[in-house]
Symmetry: C2
Subunit: 250 residues, 2 copies
């Protein structure tokens, strides 16, 4: 069979962050599959089919893409950010594991992209300079007790913490609860950054502290960074301060 499947990271939204590899495979694909808001970012090309789906139906979307590839189509599943970081790649392999045997031998390529944590970090300085963790607060697929355990472990390890998907309809108070857990381990003056829609027209970045963080100000487009004990600010004249974490221990 000549079909193949690409799982493509579009990055955070700014086309200046779309890799040449992603541009190539989007041009090569006969079919694009993805959440409608991501498909809208890809320039239209005559003869290319588009299969838009709602958010939250990742497995169905992955199965659809695999079925198309298995019948000879060249399919690109589009994903925001990096498909391997809280995006479509894992859903594709879950669908393969549970799906038709032939899907295991399809030609599949994951095309990495700039993830939200990298875009947010670049805008504010170098907050990840030290070791860091990335945790999704979405509890659609994992119990809140596991999220809570990971937040505690990340705090005990003094990692810089990137929180993806801070809000969800299913658990509107999740982010508030996460801040309470982190505040048990980390000082109130710890820098906290809300980075919303980085690289898009509605980009907005707020720098606050763990003590002052207002949980109501995040939405699903917000990436939250919580500093380690070493993360600090460098003031600037008339500009937002830089936020960085030195590479050393203090």
């Amino acid at each position: 069979m000549s079909g193949r499947l690409y799982v493509v990271g579009l990055g955070p939204g700014d086309p200046d962050w779309l890799t040449p590899e992603a541009t190539h495979v989007l041009g090569e694909a006969s079919d694009l599959v993805g959440y409608a808001a991501y498909l809208d970012r890809v320039p239209l090309r005559a003869g290319q089919a588009r299969h838009a789906s709602d958010n939250r139906v990742e497995i169905e979307r992955a199965r659809h893409a695999l079925a198309l590839a298995a019948t000879g189509h060249v399919v690109a599943v589009v994903s925001g950010g990096d498909p391997g970081i809280f995006a479509m790649a894992a859903a594709v392999f879950e669908a393969i594991e549970r799906g038709e045997a032939a899907w295991r031998d399809l030609a599949i390529k994951i095309v990495p992209g700039i993830s939200a944590v990298q875009a947010a970090a670049a805008r504010i300085g170098a907050p990840l300079g030290h070791d860091f963790c990335a945790i999704s607060l979405s509890d659609n697929l994992k119990p809140w007790s596991l999220i809570e355990k990971r937040l505690r472990a990340a705090a005990e390890g003094d990692f810089v913490i990137a929180l993806y998907n801070p809000t969800s309809k299913a658990r509107p108070d999740g982010f508030r609860d996460a801040l309470v857990t982190l505040a048990k381990h980390r000082a109130g003056k710890t820098p906290v950054i809300f980075a919303r829609a980085v690289g898009r027209s509605d980009e907005r970045i707020d720098i606050t502290t763990l003590a002052d963080a207002d949980a109501s100000r995040v939405n699903m487009a917000t990436l939250v960074l919580v500093g380690s004990s070493a993360t600090r600010l460098i003031p600037r004249t008339g500009e937002r301060p830089w936020v960085y974490t030195p590479r050393g221990a203090s």
Copy 2:
């Protein structure tokens, strides 16, 4: 002053992963500053000065770049991977914090890139599907006790773990010690991936387990991934298996 400083991520090595933003600023710069092996990746351009330095002199390199920018040069500090992830961005802000007051008001832009963990993950499937940590094992700048504490926390939190800089001359047994620590918390059958020089001509990927991992097979170009309790393989006919971590809890 019209000088400015870019800190540019070149990605793992394959030009197909270099963002358009990085290509633009490398073309705009009057001066390139960086470790010689990274400068060699940037096409030569007439009239552009190159300032190569050895590895391990990040702060001096950063100070040099800042001094050039402060006198009106347009300087690009080149970095492998993403400059914000165990690369040059943090060194630049350390130099600013300790350096001349005027450096704080320089125009500085961090240009993100694909980091080694993303390249490795893309090659093998979707190992990061769940929450993950990134830890540098280099103890040039932080005590081994802190690294050990973070390894323990990452293991207790059941994170997928990406290990950067697994070997160093200063601590040749660091990676071996790290495996021993992780093995206290995680099953011997846990998938471990050695991803060496991904995106370059000498790319090599080995999939093993925590029980069988041979610490002598890593070098400074190796990114090591250690799975969570949920990370698993999907066998393929005549090909390396896929490695992935489902998004759910099990």
